[in-house]
Every structure is written in structure tokens, then in C-alpha cells.
């Protein structure tokens, strides 16, 4: 019978091909999970604030006037695909595929992340053109407190990807960088998870109850 692989932390482990990096990653990855838990509370509270403020439109434009579901659909597809590509990058790393393959999948992830941000900012600009600015109402304050916070996280992820690319070039595939890739992948999946919450609660919920 095949021995079950040991998992020293939740998520894709670096595995036997990178035994030393895997061991060095255990504590820091666990710590990163704890950080994500704390970050999740931030988002959870912002969701709560949004829900309590859906009705606080103060006569200003509401979800029906402002939300562009086509653009949201495009952003969703882009972000879900980027989660797939970051997963492929991790598998390439785990199974020792050639390094260009790892770089390729992380590169695609970066392009998708930036595309997502471009579309999101375009949405904000369009909303603002229709009077949908955060200063207009409690509802719009809550919207702009939550959705751009997610966008800011995506932007941070993109910067992280770029820094990691430079470091990969300079240092090669060291244990340290592999460990950072594990955490970046977790971070990216986490952003996807938050986005699922955003389309469900902010956009669909907003349209249903706003």
C-alpha cells in the first residue's frame, strides 16, 4: 500500500522533492494561515458593515443604477482563472517541472491579476460618472470600504509576484523563495475566496435587497 503523503501544513505542500524547503516552510506557512485568519476577520466585518448599510442610500444611486454585472462576470472569470494558474505554478514547483514552466504560470497569474485590477478600476470610474462616489451615501461608503480593500490586496499580490520574479532571477530557486511561493499561492487563493463573497453579498445581495 502506498504511504500517505505527510502534510506539515494545510494546502499544497512542497513535498518530497524539496524536503529541506518543506521542513523550513512548516512554521512560517502555519503562521501565514493564522495571519490570513486575522485578515479574514477584517473582510468579514466589512461585509457586516455593508449588509447593515445596503438601505442607507440616502436618495443617492443604488445597486441597480451602478452595478455592471457583465464587467463583474468578466472579473470573476479572470480571478478564478488566476487561481487555477497559481495552482498550476505550485504543482509545477512541487513536481520539479522545468523552471520556465513555473515562471510561465506565475507570469500568467500576474497578467490576470493586473487585468482584473484594470477592469475593477474602470468599474469605479463608471460608477463615479453616475454619481456613485463614496461621499454620496452610507451605502456607497460601505461599498468603497470593502471592494477596493479587496482590490488593494490583489495589487499587493501583484507587487509580491513582481518582487518574487526579480528574486527568482537573482537568487535561483532557493528554499526561501519556494517557501514564499507557497505563501503567495495561499494568499492568492484567499483573495479568490473573498471575491466569491463579494459577488455573492455585495453584487447579488445588493441587487436583491438594495
Amino acid at each position: 500500500m502506498k504511504r500517505a503523503p505527510s502534510h506539515s501544513y494545510p494546502g499544497i505542500n512542497l513535498g518530497e522533492n524539496h524536503a529541506s524547503a518543506d521542513k523550513a516552510t512548516e512554521v512560517v506557512t502555519f503562521g501565514f494561515w493564522v495571519f490570513l485568519m486575522s485578515d479574514l476577520v477584517y473582510f468579514g466585518l466589512m461585509f457586516g458593515v455593508y449588509i447593515t448599510m445596503i438601505d442607507a442610500q440616502a436618495g443617492g444611486p443604488g445597486p441597480h443604477e451602478l452595478f455592471d454585472l457583465k464587467s463583474i462576470f468578466a472579473q470573476t472569470m479572470i480571478l478564478l482563472t488566476s487561481s487555477l494558474t497559481v495552482g498550476l505554478a505550485m504543482l509545477a514547483l512541487k513536481y520539479n517541472l522545468p523552471r520556465p514552466r513555473i515562471v510561465l504560470w506565475f507570469g500568467v497569474t500576474l497578467v490576470l491579476g493586473i487585468s482584473f485590477l484594470v477592469l475593477e478600476i474602470r468599474d469605479f470610474v463608471n460608477m463615479a460618472a453616475q454619481g456613485g462616489i463614496p461621499q454620496r451615501s452610507g451605502f456607497l461608503s460601505a461599498f468603497y470600504g470593502l471592494v477596493p480593500l479587496h482590490g488593494l490586496h490583489v495589487a499587493a499580490g501583484c507587487i509580491w509576484l513582481i518582487v518574487l520574479g526579480i528574486q527568482l532571477r537573482m537568487m535561483g530557486l532557493t528554499d526561501l523563495l519556494m517557501s514564499r511561493m507557497v505563501r503567495l499561492a495561499l494568499f492568492w487563493h484567499f483573495l479568490d475566496l473573498i471575491w466569491i463573497g463579494i459577488i455573492t453579498i455585495v453584487y447579488f445581495g445588493g441587487l436583491a435587497y438594495g
Partner: protein, 696 residues
């Protein structure tokens, strides 16, 4: 908003300095403000001068500011906390003097009094209690679990840097501009831009946000350290009680600091960007703030008091020479309190108009917390029962705690009843209650910890007589100051009032101000104790490391411990592992072999972030936008560049470890063991002769 039309220095002008107020409007109020500012300025000048005079900048930078050693970071946290404690106590004395000066308006203006209670609360919670709690945890936890450092030493340093820079904002607000007048809770809309356009609430916001980030990093660090870095054999059922309380406290931080960050940042969005989260108009909802703040605020008090419970647990066991009674029930009680603390936040605003049913639910949830707390009190008393008790300083603090804390806890149960709360809400009864739990609970615990672990950290004991004097002064001072407030609270005196008229309050106010002066004496007695102890250190040295017949691993190593803590990582076989080893005659084993030890190299990143974040906060408070943007980029760049540094570890060779360890072992074998009667005598070199069989 006028935020766009500000110049090079934003809205910072000459009028922001308190001396301008003194020139324009001389009087007692301005003299107090200028004296406070002068203390800050003179303090800074004195520190800079002394460091230069003794040529200490180099050692300060090399050995302290860039250190990632958890022990040094812990000491720096505690020094910072004591500096802030001095300010907090002084403010308390001024406030008590103001109210004792009545009936009538006293000598301070209403605004100034409001600033005092706002800074007093903010400082005592965020910049005394939190750094003191985590200073002790930093020092003790890795030693207790047999680790060489915390899980993330650099993050630890950054957490300290952010906490200190945030605390410095409160000091800066004394000299430049003014602090918030909105209390430590900073409720909008009062703290919103419409009613409070000045810099005060902004100082509060950024100090809270930055220190909150620092505390969150620390909480993550300690949760991971205790989960992952325990010595082999230290199962969770063998984890010292203190570490259990720190793990609960860390979990509380991880989940409870985000609501505070959200509340403060949304308030900032309202003030800076004209958002409408908590404003009166355009759909803002102040109740969201109250909920967010107390969703943090209530767990906060438990994340402070649980570690104190842990400290008392260790102290009662050690100074009774007995195994802690009811370990399992204490662990369960601690966890129960941690979880229940998230279910009671609404009791802070029973009077804000929710239904009676909701109030009843939260009232009952609040009363439930008394059950695990009661379990703890009985466990501690049972630990003392038939123990080999020594009335040393930490034990005296513990006994004062046991008696006074029960009063504070029971007054909490009274307040938990919404119908009673409607009567005493916002009165001094409440002020008496939370000081009654925070002083005997948290502060006495931390002072006990300071007396208990000081010889571990510095290699000599604190002066016992001055320690006793300070216990007496703290206890008497606390009772005189705060117990009268229960009575005036029941008589209806509102909290936070700079002026009052009812003459029947007067005797109580007089007693309270006398108590405040006794507390001031208590604070001074701590400094005197430190001074006397340093002077007499040659007769109190405990290099062997076990002056109190300790039970846990930190007592099994030299005092002060080497940088790497443990020459050999211990193999744990018992809950009170060191006590068990002493009983078996297997303490101080000679290792077969030594290994190279890898330690984290020093780094300046924490200090840099401390400075940059301080400038960043100042720029935001004063609307100096170019500087705020510059600092944001600088901090981002500093972190990114730091991530390129891969030369982060240094090796301490096995030979060096062997030499130091063998020298210490020789000292252990040559030292004379002392029994418990001679614990405070000069012959106590830190080698204990247990004179009571371990009770299991």
C-alpha cells in the same frame, strides 16, 4: 473638506504649540498643559544627553535597537510600558485633583479634562497594559517552552517598533497640537469631522491603527511559537499554565484586533475622505462603530487579564511549593473565558436602545463569565492550601489580587444586569468597577511578574523590603482611590465630569485624591526599589538561576540566560518538568555533546519601521500629504528591500556553547543550596534545596 488647500507643513502652525496658549491665556489650565509638554521635552533632552555623555549610542544600537532576541525585546517592551505608566498615573492624579477641587469647576478647563481622560484611558490600555503583558510574554514564553527564540524574531521586533512609534504619538500630542477629547473609545459622531475638526481624534486614530497592527503581529507570533516551537515531550497537557493563557490571549488578539482596526480606519475614512460610515447625515450609522469597537473592546480586557491569571498561577504554585491545583479545570476555564469574551460586547451599551430580550441575552452571557473565573479563584486557593507558603513580594501581590479582584468581579456581575446597568451606566460606579479589575487583576499581576522574573532576566534579586512597601502602597492606594467611587457612582455622579455640584460627593473625592497620591507614591516606590536593587546587586546575585525553587524550564538555565537560552534543548517528561527533575535528583544534567546553534542575525528593519511609521502618522495628523505619501513609499520599499537580504542567520559554534555551559555547570556544583527560609538572604545564589515533597 479643506484638506486640499494646505501648504508645505499642512495645517501645522505656531498655534499648535502649548506655549502659544500660555502666552495668550495664562492660567492654571495652560500651566498644567505646558508643564506636561515640558516634561516630555526635558525627558527627551535628558535621555539624548545621557546617552551621548556616556557614549552609549553604539551599544544601544548594536545590543538593543537592532536586536531580535526575544529577551531584549521583552525588556524594551517593559521599559516602554513603565515610562507610559508614569504618564498615565500622573494624569490620573491630576484628574482626581480636579474633581477633589470641587464643588464647582476646579482648575482645569473642560476640554483639557476631556483630553486627560482620553489619553489616560488610551495610554493605560494600549501603551501600558498591552506592552507590559507582551513584554513579560516575550521574555518568559520561549524560556518556559524550551525554545531558543519566538517563531518570527524579526516580526517580533517590528511589533515592538510599531507599538513604540504609536505610543510616541501620544507624547508628541502633548507638545504639538492636542489629543482627542472623545475618551479612549472615541465614539463618533462626536469624534467625526463635523463636531471635531481638529487634530485630536486623528492622533487617536493613527496611534490605534499602528499599535493595533503591531499587536496583531505579536499575537500571531506567540500563537505560532507556542503551537510549533515547544521542546520535545512538551505536550499540550504539559504546557505551563502561563503559556496556556498566552495562547488564549494570542487567539483573542488574532480575532479581536481587526474590529478595532476596522472601526478606527472607517472613522479615518469619515474624517479624511468625507465618507459616511458614522456621520449623522447621508445614511451614516453610529451604532456600527459602537458594535465594532466593543467587538474588540471586550475581548481586549480578557486578553489583558488572562496572562495575569497565568502569572498568578505560576506564582501561587512556586511560592506554595506545590503543583498547581486543578490544571485541567484552569485550562478549560481559560479557554471558556476566551470564547465567552466574544459573546458579551453589547453589555457596554445596554442603554442604547436595543430590545429588552437582546439586553437579557447579553446580560446572561456576561454573568456566565463569572463561572470559569470563579473556578480559577477556587483553584488558586486550593493551590495555597497546605502549601509551603512564603509571603514574598509576588505572593503578596497575588493575595491582594485574590481578595480585591473578587470584589471587582462581583461588581461586574452586578453591572451585567441590564436593569441595574440602566441606573449606574456612565457613572463612577463603572469607573470603580473596571479599575477594580484592571489594577488588582492586570497591573498587580504584571508587577508580581516583574518581581518574580527579574532575577531571571538580570541575574540579581529585587530588594524585598521596598517590594513590600510598594505592594502596600499599591494596595492601599488602589482601595482609597477607587472604592469610594463605587459609592459616589451609586449616588449618581457621572463619569468624565470636570465639574460637579452636589456637596455630598466631596468627602469621597477628597479620599480618592489622597488615594491617588498614595498610588503616585507606589509608582515612585517601584523606581526606588529598582535603584536600591541595582545598588545592592552584589549581595543578591543568583547566577545559578533558580532563586525561588521554580518549577518550570526557565529556572533550569543561568540567570541571565545566554543569548540562545538553552545550550541543549531539554527533553520534557513532566508538567512541572524542572521541579520533577530536582525531585528525581536529575536537574542540571551534563550533556554528552554540544551542537552549533543557528540564531537570527540582528537587523535594523524594526527600528526603521518605527521611525518611518512615526513620521507617517505625524504627517497624516497634520495633513502634510507629500510627507505621508513619501513615508508610505519608504515603508513599502524598506520591507521589499529587506526581503532581498538572505544572509540572516549566524552560527554560535558548539565549542563556545560548551565552554559557557561547562563554566556554569561548575558554578552549579560549587554553589551552596539554600532552603526556602533563606530565599531572600544573601547566600541564595540561585541553587534551591526543596524542603517540601512535591504534592501531586
Amino acid at each position: 473638506m479643506t484638506s486640499t488647500d494646505s501648504g508645505f507643513f499642512g495645517r501645522l502652525t505656531w498655534d499648535a504649540f502649548p506655549i502659544a496658549g500660555l502666552i495668550q491665556n495664562p492660567g492654571a489650565n495652560e500651566i498644567v498643559a505646558n508643564a506636561a509638554a515640558a516634561i516630555v521635552v526635558v525627558g527627551v533632552v535628558a535621555v539624548v544627553g545621557l546617552l551621548s555623555w556616556f557614549r552609549l549610542w553604539g551599544p544601544l544600537w548594536r545590543d538593543w535597537l537592532t536586536s531580535v532576541d526575544h529577551k531584549k525585546i521583552g525588556i524594551m517592551y517593559i521599559v516602554f510600558a513603565i515610562v507610559m505608566l508614569a504618564r498615565g498615573v500622573l494624569e490620573g492624579v491630576v484628574m482626581r485633583a480636579q474633581q477633589a477641587a470641587g464643588p464647582g469647576d476646579g482648575f482645569l478647563e473642560a476640554e483639557h479634562f476631556a483630553e486627560l481622560f482620553s489619553t489616560h484611558g488610551t495610554i493605560m490600555v494600549f501603551f501600558v497594559a498591552v506592552p507590559f503583558v507582551f513584554g513579560v510574554a516575550n521574555y518568559v514564553v520561549p524560556l518556559m517552552i524550551g525554545a531558543r527564540d519566538v517563531a518570527f524574531p524579526v516580526m517580533n521586533q517590528i511589533g515592538l517598533g510599531l507599538t513604540v512609534s504609536a505610543g510616541m504619538m501620544l507624547m508628541v500630542s502633548l507638545v504639538v497640537g492636542e489629543f482627542s477629547t472623545g475618551g479612549w473609545t472615541a465614539y463618533p459622531p462626536f469624534t467625526g469631522a463635523a463636531f471635531n475638526p481638529g487634530v485630536g481624534p486623528d492622533y487617536w486614530i493613527w496611534a490605534i491603527v499602528v499599535s493595533g497592527i503591531g499587536t496583531t503581529l505579536t499575537g500571531i507570533n506567540f500563537a505560532v511559537t507556542i503551537y510549533k516551537l515547544r521542546a520535545p515531550g512538551m505536550k499540550f497537557t504539559r504546557l505551563p499554565m502561563y503559556c496556556w493563557t498566552i495562547i488564549c490571549s494570542s487567539i483573542l488578539i488574532i480575532f479581536a484586533m481587526p474590529p478595532l482596526g476596522v472601526a478606527a480606519l472607517l472613522l479615518a475614512a469619515d474624517r479624511y475622505l468625507d465618507f459616511h460610515f458614522f456621520t449623522n447625515d447621508l445614511g451614516g450609522n453610529m451604532m456600527n462603530y459602537a458594535n465594532l469597537f466593543w467587538l474588540f473592546g471586550h475581548p481586549e480586557v480578557y486578553l489583558l487579564v488572562l496572562p495575569a491569571y497565568g502569572i498568578y498561577s505560576e506564582i501561587f504554585a512556586t511560592f506554595s511549593a506545590k503543583r498547581l491545583y486543578g490544571y485541567n479545570s484552569l485550562v478549560i476555564a481559560t479557554m471558556s473565558i476566551a470564547i465567552l469574551s466574544f459573546t458579551v460586547w453589547l453589555h457596554h451599551f445596554f442603554t442604547m436602545g436595543q430590545s429588552a430580550l437582546i439586553n437579557a441575552v447579553f446580560g446572561i452571557a456576561t454573568m456566565l463569565i463569572a463561572i470559569p473565573t470563579g473556578v480559577k479563584v477556587y483553584d488558586w486557593m486550593a493551590t495555597l492550601w497546605r502549601g509551603r507558603i512564603r509571603f514574598s513580594v509576588p505572593m503578596l501581590y497575588g493575595l491582594a489580587f485574590l481578595m480585591l479582584f473578587v470584589i471587582g468581579g462581583l461588581s461586574g456581575v452586578i453591572l451585567a444586569n441590564p436593569t441595574v446597568d440602566y441606573q449606574v451606566h456612565n457613572t463612577l460606579f463603572l469607573v470603580a468597577h473596571f479599575h477594580n479589575v484592571l489594577l488588582p487583576g492586570v497591573l498587580f499581576g504584571l508587577l508580581a511578574a516583574y518581581n518574580y522574573w527579574f532575577p531571571k532576566a538580570f541575574g540579581f534579586r529585587l530588594n524585598e523590603s521596598w517590594g513590600r512597601i510598594s505592594v502596600a502602597l499599591w494596595t492601599v492606594g488602589f482601595m482609597l482611590t477607587f472604592l469610594p467611587l463605587y459609592f459616589v457612582g451609586l449616588m449618581g455622579m457621572p463619569r468624565r465630569s470636570f465639574s460637579w455640584e452636589d456637596p455630598s460627593f466631596h468627602p469621597y473625592m477628597i479620599v480618592a485624591v489622597i488615594g491617588a497620591l498614595v498610588i503616585l507614591g507606589a509608582l515612585l516606590s517601584i523606581l526606588v526599589q529598582l535603584w536600591v536593587s541595582i545598588r545592592d546587586r552584589d549581595s543578591t546575585r543568583v547566577p545559578v538561576g533558580d532563586p525561588w525553587d521554580g518549577r518550570t524550564l526557565e529556572w533550569s538555565i543561568p540567570s541571565p540566560p545566554p543569548e540562545y537560552n538553552f545550550a541543549i534543548i531539554p527533553q520534557v517528561t513532566d508538567r512541572d518538568d524542572f521541579a520533577a527533575a530536582k525531585e528525581r535528583g536529575q536537574a542540571y544534567p551534563t550533556p554528552d555533546a554540544y551542537e552549533d546553534i543557528e540564531m537570527r542575525r540582528n537587523t535594523g528593519i524594526g527600528f526603521l519601521l518605527c521611525v518611518f511609521s512615526g513620521v507617517w502618522m505625524f504627517a497624516l495628523v497634520w495633513w502634510i500629504w507629500w510627507l505621508a505619501a513619501l513615508m508610505t513609499l519608504t515603508m513599502l520599499l524598506a520591507v521589499i528591500l529587506w526581503s532581498f537580504d538572505t544572509n540572516t542567520e549566524e552560527i554560535i559554534p558548539a565549542e563556545e556553547v560548551r565552554k559557557d555551559h561547562e563554566a556554569w555547570l561548575a558554578l552549579v556544583h560549587s554553589a551552596q543550596a539554600v532552603d526556602r527560609d533563606h530565599e531572600t538572604a544573601p547566600e541564595n545564589q540561585g541553587l534551591a534545596r526543596p524542603d517540601m515533597e512535591a504534592v501531586t
